[in-house]
Subunit: 232 residues, 2 copies
DNA sequence: CGAAATTTTGACTAGGTTCAAGTTCTGTGG
DNA sequence: CCACAGAACTTGAACCTAGTCAAAATTTCG
């Protein structure tokens, strides 16, 4: 196993409040693993044996309903910890995480969590903040699904993706990984068809630029107005 | 201030892993406060100055949208900690908590959190588990809102309420606090009218018994079947 | 008893799904 | 290098769930 370079991860939120030596101790327990595009990092209802930190790539986390529908819980970007089922008191993963592009993650065996979390309470505190902010996100999504119509939900979803993983290009801000209309549908509780119709209409109005598994926000400001229910 | 009786709270999940002396230390920083029915414990966007543990009563936690719609985030039952905004890295409360019946809570000033959480990592770990389970709940709700029709969402919401705060009565399981059709609507992303229609239909079929701000599940099993999408 | 809050019910409407083709990409293998 | 098969996307038409609008009935409480 190649030594992990602390400088790559020292500035991440998870490691705040730890000295370089402590960071080395934590990193020393991890292995770096590569996940090719399409591979699962872990699967829903599987025994949770590890927790993770994404170094490169993007993951799509989704839940499968009994009747086979998928709902996208979130996308994970580099620097985020994920799969911390054990810290949350669970024995299985609540969702499946799959690489949408070739990805690399640090992997810790669950067995080291008790020692690390007792030795370094800052690690616990940082994890609590991360989980807390995801709770906020999830509750915001519940509010949106309860009160907003599809077009506004799509606007909010795209703005979140752009903020999280947007890349500036000449024509605007492009989502930095392959994302289909179906994916957007599974993030917003709409159907593929409705998402396609909405994006087509937006494209006619110059708000976005479509493409196969590609979405570019041409006019983020007007999309924001749409999301907030103003203008149209 | 009357001394707080440790025996009342020692068995709660938050205090697991602490010795009686440590529990006394934590409790010693808290005050017991009474909230009459209808009073707010804290308000959305208010500076977060305290965190709480509910001793008696029931709280309704809701978020208000810019256009004035309310969405119920959750109901809090005795024994639960809440309002832990600071531990989550927030400076304001993300929602409003109001007493639906006369209630009593332990109140800690935020200022004591850094010391307590550093001194007793178990407190951090327990809080992380609590927040984690709320994250699961919120994500489950997102999945339900994305994939289920109103009738099933209402069934799920009532079953959750019954599990959390159900009281056995002769005719079935009654929700143990006043809850209106409007409240159920705000929990499920439906309208008052739709909830009323669904509950009326269920009452005709003998599944529930209605009443002003009162709901009794007469046949929890058949409601469960409904929630799971089987029979009807 | 009267006023306010809660609940019920009817009629109509509409946003979004479903059903059904058809079109446009993209990567692969001959 | 081009043909082609599969995947992704688009679009039209019919339909339906749940929302909206409107009004009345019931309950509670001062």
């Amino acid at each position: 196993m190649p030594a992990l370079d602390r400088s790559l991860v020292a500035s991440l939120p998870v490691f705040q409040g730890l000295t370089p030596e402590q960071q080395d101790d934590v990193l020393g327990e991890a292995q770096s693993v590569r996940y090719p595009k399409g591979a699962d990092v872990f699967q829903q209802d599987q025994q949770a044996q590890h927790f993770f930190l994404l170094l490169h790539g993007h993951l799509r986390v989704y839940r499968l309903t009994p009747d086979g529908q998928q709902v996208v819980v979130r996308y994970i970007s580099p620097g985020e910890i994920f799969g911390v089922a054990m810290a949350l008191g669970r024995t299985t993963y609540p969702a499946t995480a799959a690489a949408v592009v070739d990805s690399v993650a640090l992997v810790w065996p669950n067995a080291v969590w008790p020692r690390l979390s007792e030795t370094y309470p800052a690690l616990l505190a940082n994890t609590l903040r991360t989980v807390g902010s995801r709770l906020q996100d999830a509750q915001t999504r519940v509010v949106e699904m309860s009160t907003e119509q599809v077009e506004r939900r799509i606007a909010h979803a795209l703005l979140r993706l752009a903020q999280q993983s947007g890349r500036k290009v000449e024509t605007g801000i492009q989502i930095d990984f392959p994302i289909s209309r179906q994916d957007v549908a599974e993030m917003t509780g709409a159907t593929l068809h409705t998402v396609s119709r909405v994006l087509s209409a937006w494209e006619d109005r110059g708000l976005v630029e479509g493409g196969r598994q590609k979405i570019t926000l041409r006019d983020p400001h007007r999309i924001f107005m749409l999301a907030e229910g103003n203008g149209g």
